[in-house]
């Protein structure tokens, strides 16, 4: 006993030393108090090496937790990550309203053009309403071509298209095996559906599907490769209701547009998709549309005009014009009050296409920052009938050899 006591008091002292040693080896917590929340968070203790998500979301202002959720004080990875919204992607549509929404952020009013989440939720990119209607019609599950179903149920009482709501498409209740296969194989690219496993279907979800252009990066300068995560990855085989992955290895931007029989003009593959296609077309306009054709409207003539008409333009007179907001987010052009830019027939600005004093136009690629100039069709040698303006007519003369 008299020998045990000193021994155990020594062992006891050793365990106290062990406590101190283990404690001294813990990483030093790195605190961040974002100005928006005022609440300390310790995420950057481990995540200091992540790039800033975007210039519009500086980490000093937003921190991590306002978008990602998670346990801001925890230094144990499992606990810290346990309540993160949407796993690594807080913009997944299941949580986007909490992560990205809010009236001060991306669920603002339609009048302010800040209703981004509502637009995406009801857009054909998310609902796939047109294809579902066509396929159900083709296989006898409905008698008309009208859109009744989306991948998820959506509703909008103020929808201007006449379609106030879509029910959730449930292929399991259709007895036709083709419809079931369609449900299994063909919804996965669209935003309300869960991406399928496999390389060919690899895409991000929610807002990030388009806007996340790199690791922990959100941008409005969206290169065509981002669109290609879904588009141009292969083709559907309607006889087997399967998706056939493309097998070629594209070596140029032209070859990267994959539709074996398609033709392209130089501008179609030199520019990025977002240089011509607008917010309403890509994200939706807030209404529920029946199909892609009902929302996609930009054509060659939008920028180039026809033999009889110049492209529509607008001179910027309002400092609060949304154009300045868009140019601020992707500052490729020094737009000023008094500048004249091209607008679409629906009034959407193509703010990166500005009229020059001589009546020609300059354009800067949103993602490539390449500088182009072009002139209107009017007054050129073009002989195209002003009533025939679909791209296939233009391709007859202007398509490039593949």
């Amino acid at each position: 006993m008299r020998r045990l006591l000193p021994l155990f008091s020594f062992l006891f002292f050793l365990t106290l030393l062990l406590v101190w040693w283990v404690d001294s080896r813990q990483p030093k917590p790195v605190e961040l108090i974002p100005t928006l929340t005022g609440q300390p968070e310790y995420c950057i203790t481990c995540h200091a090496d992540l790039p800033e998500i975007s210039a519009s979301h500086p980490v000093e202002t937003f921190g991590c937790v306002s978008c990602h959720g998670g346990e801001r004080l925890a230094l144990d990875a499992d606990l810290a990550h346990s309540t993160m919204r949407g796993g690594a992607n807080p913009s997944d549509l299941s949580v986007a309203e909490i992560s990205c929404g809010g009236s001060n952020c991306h669920s603002g009013s339609e009048a302010d053009d800040r209703d981004h989440i509502q637009r995406v939720m009801t857009s054909v990119q998310a609902t796939y309403a047109g294809a579902i209607a066509s396929i159900r019609y083709t296989f006898g599950a409905q008698t008309d071509l009208a859109a009744h179903f989306g991948i998820a149920a959506v509703s909008d009482d103020e929808s201007q298209t006449g379609i106030k709501s879509l029910d959730a498409f449930n292929p399991a209740i259709d007895s036709n095996p083709m419809l079931q296969k369609f449900g299994e194989n063909c919804l996965v690219c669209h935003l309300h559906a869960k991406p399928q496993e496999g390389e060919a279907f690899a895409r991000q979800t929610g807002c990030a599907a388009c806007h996340s252009t790199g690791e922990h990066t959100m941008s409005t300068a969206i290169p065509y490769t981002q669109c290609n995560a879904c588009h141009n990855r292969g083709n559907y085989d309607l006889r087997t209701m399967t998706f056939v992955e493309r097998t070629d290895q594209p070596t140029s931007r032209l070859a990267d547009y994959y539709q074996p029989i398609s033709q392209f003009t130089k501008c179609e593959y030199t520019l990025d998709c977002v240089d011509c296609h607008t917010r309403d077309e890509t994200m939706g306009d807030g209404d529920i549309h029946a199909n892609q054709a009902s929302i996609q409207y930009v054509q060659c003539k939008t920028c180039h005009g026809t033999l009889t008409e110049l492209p529509l333009t607008k001179t910027l007179t309002d400092p609060n014009d949304i154009v300045f907001r868009m140019a601020f987010l992707n500052p490729i052009m020094d737009l000023k009050l008094g500048d004249t830019i091209i607008v679409t027939e629906q009034g959407e600005p193509l703010w990166n296409a500005r009229q020059l004093p001589d009546g020609t136009f300059e354009m800067v690629g949103k993602a490539t920052k390449q500088y182009f100039t072009f002139r209107p069709v009017m007054g050129t040698a073009c002989e195209q009938n002003p009533d025939q303006q679909e791209s296939n007519y233009c391709h007859e003369c202007h398509a490039v050899e593949k």
Partner: protein
């Protein structure tokens, strides 16, 4: 705490005049009954664990915020940001778990050495009450985490009170402070944990220890029936106690370093909603056996009545079962109280089996 131990050890290593601590012990105690293999050091360890719980608990109170919005976050602050806070919290947790185990061992020792007979019958009841209050302290402490994992045990645990006829609703309102479990319950549980139950434990604990001395120290046969009449001085007893404290401390410290106390995410919504989101629907380990029974049927019968009957049966052991033979008091597994031993063994085995079924 450890200054206290070091202070004590100085008594052992260097001769010093008897202190207050020495005088808490009887001048001499019987050699046979002072052995480790007799006492299992359980009663003393329980007191030591309560001291640790008191000290670590007070340290936690410096940071713990007993309001629903901050409680779980303050636990995370303690765990991750207060210097040695995680270690102190782990110590508090492991001391509390160990207290349940050690108290149970102490109880079994008393039963299996027939140490509860007259005049110790009342002290046996005090000990049983201490055990029950310790479990309630453990449960209330568990609830104070106020994170997503406590929702289910809190809801079921308190709903059990409602099933009690006549006084159930009244007890429920006392426990949670309203008609349903919501934010008021946290302050209730906090006050019970820090103040109500702790005061009870201190009073019952001091009374229990006082009655040990008053009832003639550790249970032994009368002098004429003892095989071994030798006694050891209290210095030796104190030495053994200090050695026990060192061993227990080393064990607790190692556990606290390597096995962190459970913690979960803060509740983002009210309890009622969190219950549906909560992943962990298991009761704290010392109630797993009750939870297992709750799967069988009526919550009043299985959740309240049967545990109460078990408790009543245990409480009545010194009163309704044959008294142990005087010559056998203080020896292991005496023949004269076989019935009590068998009943406790059966109940204990069933509780352990139920616990493991529900793991």
């Amino acid at each position: 705490m450890y200054f206290f131990i070091l202070h004590l050890s100085s008594f052992i290593l260097f001769p010093m005049p008897p202190s207050f601590f020495h005088h808490l012990h009887p001048p001499t105690i019987p050699t046979a009954q002072a052995r480790w293999r007799h006492t299992l050091a359980a009663g003393g360890t329980a007191i030591f664990l309560m001291l640790i719980l008191g000290v670590t608990g007070i340290l936690e109170m410096f940071y713990y915020a007993p309001n629903p919005a901050e409680a779980a976050l303050s636990v995370q602050t303690i765990t991750y940001h207060v210097p040695f806070g995680g270690f102190i919290r782990n110590l508090h947790y492991w001391a509390a778990q160990a207290l349940i185990v050690v108290s149970a061992v102490h109880f079994l020792r008393v039963i299996f050495t027939a140490a509860y007979g007259h005049p110790r019958r009342f002290n046996y009841l005090l000990g049983l009450a201490l055990f029950v209050v310790s479990i309630m302290l453990d449960f209330t402490g568990y609830i104070l985490r106020w994170d997503v994992d406590i929702c289910w045990p809190l809801t079921t645990g308190t709903n059990l009170l409602k099933t009690i006829p006549v006084i159930g609703d009244f007890l429920y309102r006392i426990a949670v402070g309203g008609n349903e479990v919501c934010e008021t319950a946290l302050l209730r549980f906090y006050t019970w944990h820090i103040f109500g139950l702790t005061i009870l434990v201190v009073i019952l604990g001091v009374w229990h220890a006082f009655r040990v001395r008053r009832d003639g120290g550790i249970a032994v046969p009368p002098p004429q029936l003892r095989a071994d009449v030798t006694r050891i001085p209290r210095d030796e007893l104190v030495r053994r106690e200090v050695l026990t404290m060192f061993i227990v401390s080393i064990g607790l410290i190692l556990l606290s370093i390597f096995v962190p106390a459970p913690i979960a995410a803060a509740m983002s919504v009210s309890i009622r909603e969190s219950v549906t989101e909560s992943v962990d629907v298991r009761a704290p380990w010392f109630f797993l056996w009750v939870q297992q029974m709750l799967k069988w049927g009526d919550p009043f019968i299985f959740g309240v009545l049967i545990p109460s009957i078990i408790l009543a049966l245990l409480a009545l052991i010194p009163y309704i079962f044959p008294q142990p033979n005087e010559a056998e008091i203080g020896s292991w597994f005496p023949k004269s109280n076989r019935l009590a031993q068998i009943i406790v063994a059966i109940i204990g085995t069933i509780i352990i089996i139920l616990t493991f079924i529900n793991r």
